[in-house]
């Protein structure tokens, strides 16, 4: 038997590596997609954009300040 550069084992390993790679890409797509869906389901998104862990009066709409 001669040494072959490409053995059947290499083909199988490549298939496995490609498979694992695709699974990881799929997993990333799922987590990203879920994040987008969950954030979009949070009603008005601006309420979270203005949240900064401390009170920021300059972000409160003017009408409310006037009252």
């Amino acid at each position: 038997m001669v040494i072959r550069v490409e053995h059947e084992l290499h083909t199988r390993r490549r298939g496995r590596n490609v498979g694992v790679g695709l699974l990881l890409v799929g997993f990333i797509a799922i987590v990203f997609g879920l994040t987008v869906v969950k954030v979009l389901q949070l009603d008005n998104i601006t309420q979270f954009e203005t949240f900064d862990h401390v009170a920021r009066p300059q972000l409160v709409p003017q009408e409310e300040v006037a009252e």
Binding site: L9, R12, R13, G15, R16, I30, L34
Partner: protein
Amino acid sequence: MTDISANDRSYEAGMGDYFALMKPRVMSLVVFTALVGLLVAPVPVHPFVGFVAILCIAVGAGASGALNMWWDADIDQLMKRTASRPIPSGRVAPGEALGIGLALAGFSIVLLALATNFLAAGLLAFTIFFYLVVYSMWLKRATPQNIVIGGAAGAFPPMIGWAVATGGVSIESVLMFALIFMWTPPHFWALALFVKSDYGRAGVPMLTETHGRDATRKQVLIYTLLLVPVALGLGLTSIGGPFYMVVALAMNAWFLKGAFDIWRRDDAACEADKHRVEINVFKVSLYYLFAHFGALLVEAALRLYGIGGWSW
């Protein structure tokens, strides 16, 4: 070392071998019934969340398949039907199957909890536990009723699908569970009556071998009779309707007639026509489940146009 083929003795599994660990055919039934449970629920689910939920349920089912193959590898190699599975045929190491099964189970449960709710994830976790511990470890080798109680594992998916949408359990989801639960014994025993199995050689008690074929025929009839009120009762709930009822009446009459025919036969009659009736009833049982869940889907679709269910 002069030849790379020296490595051939230790076979390295390919993706197909790992996929086979997950019992893809069982997974297809799980996906179908879980999808119906999710779609007939009165609460709409975002399509992407629904897709991820069904994927999680399918992967969870695959994980229990892998864990079952890990546990049963010793008896699988003794039976002709299972000897070519990845572990007994040496394509996947037992430890690998255990690792893959546990990892996939963990992934699917956590992802389902994050994507939907804790009840759905809890039901999925319980299903995997039930299939591996209650069915595979405790019942399968201990009692000929293994298939009856073990059937619960296959009955949970529509209940999980319903929980994904509603976040709860209700009479509808319990009856969908009961439909598959009561359907499993006559479906499986009809198969056991015409397939020459070697369960005895592997030490697995099967009703046909422990109590005989006549007792099995009687059990097929009893469970089919018990199945009828469950199937018709489901039609009276909020997810049923006239269309479902017509389908259920027809399918139950067909299945019941088959069960009666099996019950009236003896071994000589079976040998004479090469188990024609048993094979037929087994096929009918497959149509039976598909038709019931398909009819539930049709009712849900009709409701979108205001003509489904009992209220119109």
